[in-house]
């Protein structure tokens, strides 16, 4: 009896899963016999998705069957027409979102939540985008406001529907980014429990449903920052590697540069200075200084700091000379204070002690004026390094007392106070050494984001 084979069309529909259950079963049964004739047909239908997921050269003139090429053309024509028509509408939505944002921000905080929860008008995707963006910006300039704004973004995101966002994937991505941004806002305010909760929501959103690659990468990046604060460096690097793979896939080199900058921060925290500097150089090659001047400046700043910390203060000095115009161009108070601080640290590295002292004093005053007590205290500790090197024990004692008083007044963490007490006591007994000052300073920087840390003084300074 002649064997009956499924038609090529039926085999194609089988691969695409478009047949009824009995038909699928019948073809499965047939293929199980190892029919070579049908396998030959199937070989042309089987997909390329299991090929190595490396970039492939996409040839524009890759030969397509004429009929297939025409069918693609028809689809492209239809989609392009719809997208062009949507372009103007998206522009209007963006503008509405910005207006709603302005309106919202003029209201008292308590009213904002009420309005977002009750008014349909505020169920707007672009408002959500604007709030996420504003939450990020506030994290850099006014951290105290960042939580409130990011929280509003999650309220809006959680009220949106797939229809509001043009599909479920877009909504999932928006929600994941909103929650991740809230986590980051908690993090920059050193509220780690809140950060953990919000980032857990973001992570579960990534696991539960499809989320577009750029949104996924953004969540990985924010989550990595939190892992760094938790001192889970291996996890942070893993997350950043995932983000880097996505940005490479998407050809987004500047964002890849930012990711390498983040990786460099992880290496710095793990005291791997050589890797830190290598990554910073790679990041600087990728970040566009015209389009991303602030990120470029941060990368340069960190490289100068790393060079100086690793004893290459001359190189640091040379790079600082070339970078100074970027700080001046940024022009804001924080950037200028950070420049002055770095100048002091490089001067100290070059043993230009008096220059360093002047710089640290200016920086301390600057941060005090801005109400940034913590940074002012760190600048004070740099000043303490100067006093130790100059043997100015009386000045050191006074400085240690002042710094401790500032932290006590702000109800700081017990371990921070303990570290400063050790320094104060050593200063009072004229036994404070440079190593102790550096240990206390390093500890305060780490403990700022990790209240679980415990201070253990160097044995020589007890």
């Amino acid at each position: 009896m002649a064997e009956i084979h499924p038609t090529p069309e039926a085999l194609e529909q089988f691969v695409l899963g478009r047949l009824s259950s009995p038909e699928m079963r019948e073809i499965s049964r047939h293929l199980l016999t190892g029919c070579p004739q049908c396998q030959d047909v199937m070989a042309c239908l089987w997909d390329p998705a299991d090929e190595a997921e490396e970039a492939f050269a996409l040839e524009e003139n890759e030969t397509l069957d004429e009929g297939v090429g025409e069918a693609y053309d028809e689809v492209l024509d239809r989609v392009f027409a719809r997208v062009v028509a949507a372009e103007a509408a998206i522009g209007v939505q963006r503008s509405v979102g910005h207006k709603l944002f302005e309106e919202l921000m003029q209201l008292p905080a308590a009213r904002r939540h009420l309005l977002l929860s009750n008014s349909q008008r505020f169920r707007n995707r672009m408002l959500c985008e604007r709030l996420i963006e504003a939450g990020h910006e506030a994290g850099l300039s006014e951290p105290a406001q960042a939580i409130e704004i990011s929280n509003l973004a999650t309220v809006v995101a959680d009220r949106l529907t797939p229809e509001d966002c043009g599909g479920g994937e877009a909504l999932n991505g928006l929600r994941a980014r909103a929650w991740a941004q809230l986590g980051n806002s908690y993090r920059v305010n050193a509220q780690l429990a809140g950060a953990e909760r919000a980032l857990c929501v973001a992570q579960s959103l990534l696991e539960e449903a499809p989320v577009a690659l750029p949104d996924r990468a953004r969540v990985y990046s924010l989550l990595a920052s939190f892992r760094v604060d938790q001192r889970k460096f291996a996890e942070a690097l893993q997350l950043l590697d995932r983000a880097a793979v996505i940005y490479k896939k998407l050809g987004q080199w500047s964002l890849l540069g930012r990711t390498l900058l983040q990786k460099a921060v992880v290496c710095a925290e793990a005291n791997d200075v050589e890797s830190q500097m290598r990554l910073l150089r790679q990041a600087l090659d990728l970040i566009d200084p015209q389009a991303d001047p602030r990120v470029f400046l941060i990368a340069r700043h960190n490289l100068i700091d790393a060079l100086n910390m690793s004893g290459r203060s001359r190189e640091a000095f040379a790079l600082l000379f070339h970078t100074r115009p970027l700080y001046l161009k940024a022009g804001d108070r924080m950037s200028l204070l950070r420049l002055r601080w770095l100048e002091g640290q490089v001067a100290l590295g070059l043993q230009r002690i008096e220059q360093a002292e002047v710089a640290f004093r200016e920086v301390r005053e600057g941060f005090r004026e801005l109400g940034q007590g913590f940074d002012a205290a760190l600048a004070s500790l740099d000043l303490a390094s100067v006093y130790v090197q100059q043997g100015r024990t009386a000045d050191l004692r006074l400085l240690a007392e002042e710094t401790l008083a500032v932290f006590q007044a702000h109800d700081s963490e017990q371990e921070m106070l303990a570290a400063l007490l050790v320094l104060r006591d050593a200063a009072c007994m004229d036994r404070a050494e440079l190593q102790l000052v550096q240990e206390v300073s390093g500890f305060l920087k780490r403990a700022r984001t990790n209240p679980e840390l415990r201070f253990s003084p160097p044995t020589t300074a007890s």
Binding site: G17, P36, W46, D50, E60, F80, V84
Partner: protein
Amino acid sequence: MSALDQLQVEASLEGFLRQVRPRLKALFGHFKIPPQDTEDILQQALLALLYRPERVRDPEAWLLGTLRNKCLLYWREKKRKLYESVDTSILERMAEPLAPAQEGADFRKDLESALECLPERCRSLLSLRFELGYEPPEVAERMGYSPASISKVTTRCLDALTRHMVYPTPRGKKARHG
């Protein structure tokens, strides 16, 4: 500046679409996505590009990277359904009480031959599943897998079986497309 603004700065949206059109066709052709299924994939990706809140430096690379990923996901989903279908077909066939004796024997023989060609772990797992009718938790216990991972392992074995059925390795030097 949004992705939209960026497009407007560099060229009009229409210009961008004209420029990227040949590459889109090549990409869909490369991944063998049926034309009727490209419509949603492409529209979602283009709208996502227009909606992006931040500036997209290289919109073409962004779009092609996004689409490539969507094409991979498309096939991953299709294959998952195909494995499920093959699995169900075999399970149903094995459970048929009234199949003619010769036909039933032939089926079992074909299944055994197919399983023989698979790696040992897959062969054991699928034999337990199809021939002895074990449930996944029982298979996990017998083979020392955690209950949480048995589903993934089973999918991998079904992948191997389906691949063997449609494109067996001894004959199958890999063509460009698969």
